[in-house]
């Protein structure tokens, strides 16, 4: 049980897919026009993530290494189809609001990332909880972003009026540009945390500064480009656009990224690096 708890904590806080790893940005921006949509999308993704992690982990000895990516995609796509049919039948309104983004869960890099870096090399029960934890972390992040956008854009949260009547809603926040602005504020805050951490001298390598840096210089365990492209190193990205400077922590992270499948111990024995003392206390209390 201890392990399950650790996995949940890891997904929700320590390696939160949106706030810490910056994965799955397309749905994060597209469906967070309201808190309810964010919650619906998050829970759908969480369900797919948990089920696909479980099945992939159960089948990990059967799936040959060379065709694992197509196999993962088929498993994930099957669960997405099941979920889509269920939503169509029981929650037609939500299905309509989320539209094409439900089938697009298939290409969400969080799911493939977890399959590759955790489920394929770990037993079923921890994998299931890893999926649940990551999914809930994603849900939490989407709901927060959705709530902020709904609050600023319509003065409501979950449809309940929060702001006083004198507040004029800033309509742009529920439209497309608002999504970019909210995410810009979020990443700026993250950069701020990273800079402060580095000033104190702590290792902040885990905090990503956005997918943009990662595709060039992938410090991201879940970056899906690696999976399709086993010899990504030889493709000359480095010569095309050389990052200005590579920090030691980033090199370490990207080395980790290239190992496939990621060895268990990189996840299991990592010291808690980014969370605050409060979180460490929480973890000890939990054990």
């Amino acid at each position: 049980m201890n392990k399950a708890g650790e996995r949940l904590y890891n997904g929700l806080i320590k390696e939160n897919p949106t706030f810490v790893l910056m994965l799955g940005m397309c749905p994060t921006l597209a469906v967070t026009t309201s808190a309810m949509n964010g919650l619906g999308m998050g829970l759908t993704t969480a369900a797919v993530l948990a089920m696909s992690n479980l099945i992939i982990s159960l089948l990990r000895k059967v799936i040959p290494g060379k065709v694992r990516i197509p196999a993962f995609i088929v498993i994930i796509a099957s669960f997405v189809t099941v979920l889509q049919l269920l939503l169509e039948a029981y929650l037609p309104d939500l299905n309509k609001a989320l539209g094409v983004y439900i089938p697009l869960i298939v290409v969400n890099c969080i799911i493939l990332g977890r399959a590759e870096s955790y489920a394929y090399s770990n037993p079923p029960i921890p994998s299931l909880f890893d999926g649940v934890g990551m999914g809930l972390g994603f849900t939490f992040a989407l709901t927060c972003i959705g709530a902020v956008r709904e609050l600023l854009g319509a003065g409501e949260v979950f449809g309940y009026r929060i702001m006083p009547d004198s507040f004029t809603p800033i309509g742009i926040f529920v439209l497309a540009p608002g999504a970019f602005f909210v995410l810009a504020a979020l990443t700026a805050f993250q950069n701020y945390l990273k800079i402060t951490k580095e000033r104190v001298g702590k290792d902040a390598g885990k905090i990503q500064s956005g997918c943009s840096e990662d595709c060039m210089n992938c410090g991201n365990k879940g970056c899906s480009r690696r999976f399709y492209d086993p010899d990504a190193e030889d493709h000359g990205w480095e010569t095309l656009e050389k990052p200005a400077e590579i920090k030691a922590s980033e090199i370490k992270a990207s080395d980790k990224c290239t190992e496939e499948p990621a060895p268990k111990k990189t996840i299991e024995t990592e010291e808690p690096v980014i969370q605050d003392l409060i979180f460490i206390d929480l973890k000890k209390g939990g054990k």
């Binding site: 089938p103 697009l104 956005g210 997918c211």
Partner: protein, 194 residues
Amino acid sequence: MTDIKDLFIILVSSSLVSNVVLSQFLGLCPFLGVSKKTSTAAGMGTAVIFVITLASAVSGVIYKDVLQRFHIEYLQTIVFILVIAALVQFVEMFLKKAMPALYEALGVYLPLITTNCAVLGVALTNVQKEYGIVTGIVNGFATAVGFTISIVILAGLREKMEHNDFPESFKGMPMVLLTAGLMAIAFCGFSGLL
């Protein structure tokens, strides 16, 4: 039969009015990741136009002739993603053998495109809006052109802004996102076109 006027309306609306990146948020990863230089952005854009047009043709044919004929439309997500992944691999191998010059220019970008959700997004939108094969191809082409327009503009802006003096926290990603947000506001202006 679809007439030329309808096709033209789809062309304008998919490329400018409901721009794939700036209003539908598909293909954000390459949009943010490969937009540091105008030349690479243009290369990526060309590769995307090539793949999306091809993918919407192939997925359209498969949907009409296989899925609809056997009444297994519910398998569309699984079939499309596999078809796209296979198609990208195949195109890469074909270009390597048959057109080395084009492969030199586009080869780097091709593997990246499989994970570009715009490709799957276009295939699914074509089905959702019940476009025919020709209309679907036009829609795919227009969407990809819209992607290219916005990624090249963003790359141009980023080149200009590179050495500007920002607050430290806003350097890199946040500034790119703010720029993209402002571009999205500008693209909202196109909604008056139709």
